[in-house]
Amino acid sequence: MLRYILWRIAVMIPTLIMISMLVFTIIELPPGDFFESYVEELRAIGEKADTQEIEDLKARYGFDKPAPLRYFDWVANFVRGDFGYSFEYRMPVADVVGDRVWLTVLVSTVTIIVTWLIAFPIGIYSATHKYSWGDYGLTLVGLIGIAVPNFILALVMMYFANIWFGTSIGHLMEPSFINEPMSWAKLKSILEHLWIPVIIIGTAGTAGMVRRVRANLLDEMHKQYVTTARAKGLHPFRTLMKYPFRMSLNFFISDIGSILPSIISGAEITAVVLSLETTGPMLIRALQNQDMYLAGSFLMFLAILTVIGVLVSDIALAILDPRIRLQGGRTK
């Protein structure tokens, strides 16, 4: 077991190195850099750019150096906890990101938990009532959840919340709390605003989850051990929960790692439409403006969270299922 865990941790290192290269490429690829577009912008409104300041900044952040050297600088600083400087906000990245990372983690966690709470009962119902009207109806509703683009759902919900409740549902909290330190009142305000993004982001994920719970349960329910348990006279519900359900949890655990990127992808567009104070809109803006250190740090944080998630799910799987541990790799 220990060997397996050590092996998995060792494998993480090349993965992280490759991720950092990919992230650096993503932020380097678009032609030009932040300063070029900044100078252009100033020229467009008829002001002269302070060339001296820009040259200083360029030299300070090594923009005159070739790309590979800058990559090594960036990684070395990142490891030491210096995430660089956001050119657009003119602040260190760590200060800009601040609250937003935690709000993103909050929205994502709540979304994932709500997804599970809804998806598991429905999935179990669908699997035990296969091809019933309830199964078909729930599948259809779920598929519609997958099929509607998130941003349209967000727009329509915003509209109806306005008509029915008379509230504006944009943002994650009352505007007066933005940039305020955390307090009970702020927390309450956040909780009041949280449910809309959670519903919107959660729809697609819930539907996919229901389908997978159903498929996995159906696979297990025809195995012989279930027949044996039924033949012994075990209550059907107990049979279901004790054996097939536990087996079908395997896929669910192996999903923990990859659920985060997909939740965040879905959340970004929603966050733009609802103007939430999460990382999504800021990340997209930073990518579009080539505010490279800000964008790069965001991407690295997300990727590291995911890699850790995958690690945790692999170890949990290995603990649960000896077949995986002995094979020394994931079977999925």
């Binding site: 494998v11 683009p149 998130n150 941003f151 727009l155 306005n162 733009v272 990518l287």
Partner: protein, 386 residues
């Protein structure tokens, strides 16, 4: 063998001449001799919803060939007198008398307080729809001149079944033209990811070793970064001066390039199991090279699974295109896709004032549902012996 006479024994023996082909056809009815394709088709046919979806999709793909004929207007025809006009209702009866399909003419008044355009039906003005008629001129597939349409408004009349947008362009026609782009973008993207997935996953699963290790890490990397930043970055490298058509091809390529990981993983795990089979060993003994063994002996064995899973990824690509277009990085306006159309409905005001601009969502939902049902049916049918 053909001239058997009835024997004198007590067993009954048919007097008819013996036809060996008939016997074989009889055996075949049990399915034991049917080809894999035929078995798959038999099973697929039983899945009614999947069959209906397949027919619907076939109809949709056939329709995009002749969009110019089906759409009542051209994609860019501007009707300056009908800006933000709501959908018109088609009537059959006028004051109890049957007239045939017609719409009422409308008059527009501008509310000077709210600056909203109000359209009111003028029940005296009956505009009968024409069928197989001459309307907007177009260049069919940009080659042949034509002006024949399935349905057009009455002479000097108008017919906006789904309303018009901010430039007075007919929403129905634009949805139909958008289908041409939105439906093909998924197909081209899936082809890209299909080729990449089979080649990379196939080599990884068959060779194993360091190549497998590297491929697994790359998949892990690509899967641990949210897809939107990847799309953004790749869309941003496409030069702004590319023509919209090249941008369209570029987008399909990007969607495919980031999607092959799931397919590669499926191919790899299948190959890991299959390469231990005896027939692979036999092929190796005969001196077949790995590309031949993979392409000729291994991949056909689970091609049906691959096709089913590819069908299930097309919806994701169609949605991906709407997302990219929504962010302004996808298809650019002279070319019209459903994503481009939905971009028009990006604010709450539009939803409140001109809800008919949300109509492009309906084909998106229908097509995605159809692909999902068809993919489910294909997946169930892909394994006929199960």
């Amino acid at each position: 063998m053909s001239d058997r006479t009835p024997s004198s024994s007590t067993h009954f023996v048919s007097g008819a001449p013996f036809d060996p082909y008939l016997v074989e056809a009889d055996n075949d009815r049990g399915g034991s001799h049917a080809s894999q394709l035929r078995l798959t088709w038999w099973r697929f046919r039983r899945h009614k919803l999947a069959l209906i979806s397949a027919i619907l999709l076939l109809a949709a793909y056939l329709a995009i060939i002749v969009i110019e004929f089906l759409a009542p207007y051209n994609v860019a025809t501007r009707n300056v007198d009908n800006i933000y006009a709501p959908p018109q209702q088609v009537h059959l009866f006028h004051e109890g008398a049957f007239v045939g399909p017609f719409v009422y003419g409308r008059t527009m008044t501008l509310d000077m307080k709210t600056l909203r355009r109000n359209y009111t039906d003028d029940t005296a003005d009956i505009q009968k729809l024409r069928f197989f008629c001459r309307g907007d001129g177009y260049r069919f597939w940009n080659m042949v001149e034509g002006n024949l349409h399935l349905v057009c408004p009455a002479e000097d009349g108008e017919f906006f079944l789904l309303g018009t947008d901010r430039l007075g362009r007919d929403v129905l026609s634009r949805i139909l033209y958008g289908a041409r782009i939105s439906l093909t973008i998924g197909l081209l993207g899936v082809m890209t990811s299909f080729v990449l997935g089979i080649v990379i996953g196939g080599l990884a699963g068959y060779w194993g070793g360091w190549f497998d290790m590297a491929v697994q890490r790359v998949t892990e990397v690509l899967q641990s970064i949210p897809s939107i930043p990847l799309w953004l970055a790749m869309a941003a490298i496409m030069p702004a001066d590319w023509s919209p058509l090249v941008v369209y091809l570029g987008i399909t390529f990007i969607l495919g390039l980031l999607d092959w990981t799931g397919l590669a993983r499926a191919v790899r795990s299948k190959l890991l199991a299959l390469r231990e089979e005896d027939y692979v060993l036999a092929a190796q003994m005969m001196g077949a090279k790995s590309p031949r063994i993979i392409g000729r002996h291994l991949v056909p064995g689970f091609m049906s699974h691959l096709i089913a899973s590819a069908t299930l990824t097309i919806p994701g690509m169609i949605l991906g295109e709407t997302t990219l277009s929504f962010l302004g990085l996808g298809i650019r306006p002279p070319i019209t896709s459903w994503g481009v159309l939905l971009t028009e409905a990006r604010t709450v005001n539009v939803v409140a004032l001109y809800p008919w601009l949300l109509f492009p969502v309906i084909p998106v939902i229908v097509i995605i549902l159809a692909f999902n049902f068809m993919g489910d049916g294909l997946r169930d049918a892909a394994d006929p012996y199960n």
